[in-house]
Amino acid sequence: MPGPAIHVRDLSLQLGASPVLTDLQFSIAGGALHCLIGPNGGGKTSTVRCLLGQMPHRGSIEFSWPGGTRGSIGYVPQLIEMEKTLPLTIDDFMTVISQNRPAFTGTRRSAKAAIDAALERVGLTARRRLMLGSLSGGERQRLLFAQALIPAPDLLVLDEPMTSLDEAGARLFEQLILEIHAGGATVLWINHDLEQVARLAQSVTVIDKRVLAHGATATTLTADMQRGVFHAPVAGRAA
């Protein structure tokens, strides 16, 4: 199934006294590879959390799914701390997200094939018996990607998934994202790597509390825009 189009109208978010987002207005075409960019603290993650229904916001967010039936959403969150005290392996975690039958009674045969495939794709097969608490940052990010692959996503939402990855991991993730996009899914990707955005994204939205720019990557991500919005953070990161 092709991915949904997303229409955001007058989206505002207020946390306490400070406005986080003000009157966001943009649309993402179905099946697009779309990047959200903007300075740190500009509200990119908050925008995504509003889209996922996790923040009380004003305005409307509409998903138009082809055929009217809601497809599946894969979500790769920002690198999160994983439970360190529980005896929970990668396999256990994947079982927990794949089936209703309690994970401690074993993995269903029907779920096992999908888990094997997902771990293989992110390169975690050899590490599957390790406990979550002993994983490196890069391994945790691979695991978070693996869970987003089950079930196969029609909309893939990624929140800076590559921050702790080594170069090989980053290449693997890029390839996976392109594969999923090629399969018809809509990809919404928070990405601070402007070179990568320019190379891969079809459209971008630049957010700093409000929409600074939105449109096709070539016309939106101009040299002027990059200097104006990202001058300080990009220079800082390069240093």
């Binding site: 959390r49 996922l52 229904g53 996790q54 959403i73 979500y75 969150p77 999160i80 994983m82 439970e83 360190k84 005290t85 529980l86 005896p87 929970l88 392996t89 396999d91 256990d92 975690f93 079982t95 927990v96 997200i97 089936q99 209703n100 039958r101 309690p102 994970a103 401690f104 009674t105 074993g106 018996r129 406990m131 608490g133 002993s134 978070l144 869970q147 939402v157």
Partner: protein
């Protein structure tokens, strides 16, 4: 269910008389208590793994303390001294739900808020219990606090069975969702888990279980049996599967041993105390194994 219990008791007593089971099986109340422990052990063990995952040990402690208040209210409004279930269930459910409702609505961290509720429930519970203790035999209150197998009746067994059934029907299909909700709420929500609703279901189940186990283990010590077997198993296990089954096994052994050992050797301790001391023994042993046996040292994170 009474005819079933009677039949079971009869069979076990026959085995006891024939010398196939220890002599304590001659007593009806011991058999009642042991039957209960076969249910309570796996139940508390399984729920205990989730309590540890959700870091809610002190929540169940607070519910246990609230059960004291429940008993006192029951005595005040004229319920039976030995089984004031209506008051216990209603007060504890109210208490648990209010606590969970308050949690996201204060600026306190979860442990601080639970600490506040725990203190309140202990203060009110202890005061009310001492206030009503003038009216009833204090041994009854002692048994509510620390457990007593002498008072386990068919009604208590019915209550326990019903609560167990509810937990199986409601809890098992939600086990993975509860676990995912506690690992990462945001991820769980995207994956279609109604995190808040699942949380309330868990709170209600823990409350029901706590109240149903008060007779055997006592209001003050139920929390220990939810926590200690899981902590002991955690020392040795490296997968979810071994963790849950080991916890259930240790909890069951603690219950059976805690009831049987004092009876067999005439040691005058309350059943709850014996059960928890046995569980603590398992914890000490597994901690030693973890630190002394080379193969388990790697399990340390």
């Amino acid at each position: 269910m009474t005819p079933v219990y009677a039949w079971l008791r009869e069979q076990l007593m026959l085995l006891g008389e024939a010398g196939l089971l220890p002599s304590v099986f001659f007593y009806e109340f011991v058999i009642n208590a042991l039957l209960c422990s076969l249910v309570i052990g796996p139940l508390l063990g399984c729920v205990g793994t989730m309590i540890v995952a959700k870091r809610m040990a002190f929540f169940s402690q607070a519910i246990g303390n609230a059960a004291l208040t429940g008993v006192a209210i029951g005595v005040l409004i004229g319920e039976s001294y030995t089984a004031p279930y209506v008051s216990m269930f209603s007060f504890c459910l109210l208490f648990g739900i209010v606590l969970n409702y308050t949690r996201p609505r204060t600026r306190l961290s979860a442990d601080a808020l639970i600490g506040v509720f725990l203190s309140i429930s202990l203060a009110v519970g202890a005061s009310l219990v001492l206030y009503v203790s003038a009216r009833v035999n204090t041994h009854i209150l002692e048994s509510v606090m620390f457990g007593s197998i002498l008072t386990v009746s068919d009604l208590d067994m019915d209550v326990l069975l019903v609560v167990t059934l509810i937990t199986l029907l409601a809890g098992l299909p939600l086990y993975n969702k509860m676990l995912l909700g506690s690992l990462n709420a945001s991820l769980a929500q995207v994956r279609g888990v109604n995190v808040q609703a699942v949380e309330y279901v868990f709170i209600v189940l823990v409350t029901l279980i706590t109240v149903a186990c008060v007779k055997i283990i006592g209001a003050v010590l139920v929390e220990a049996l939810l926590l200690i077997p899981a902590a002991a198993a955690r020392n040795l296990c490296r997968t979810l599967r071994s963790f849950v089954w080991t916890t259930m096994l240790l909890a069951t052994l603690s219950c059976i041993g805690g009831i049987w050992i004092p009876m067999q050797w005439d040691i005058p301790v309350p059943s709850g105390g014996a059960i928890v001391m046995l569980a603590a023994g398992f914890f000490i042993v597994t901690t030693l194994i973890r630190n002394l046996v080379p193969g388990f040292r790697e399990a340390r994170l």
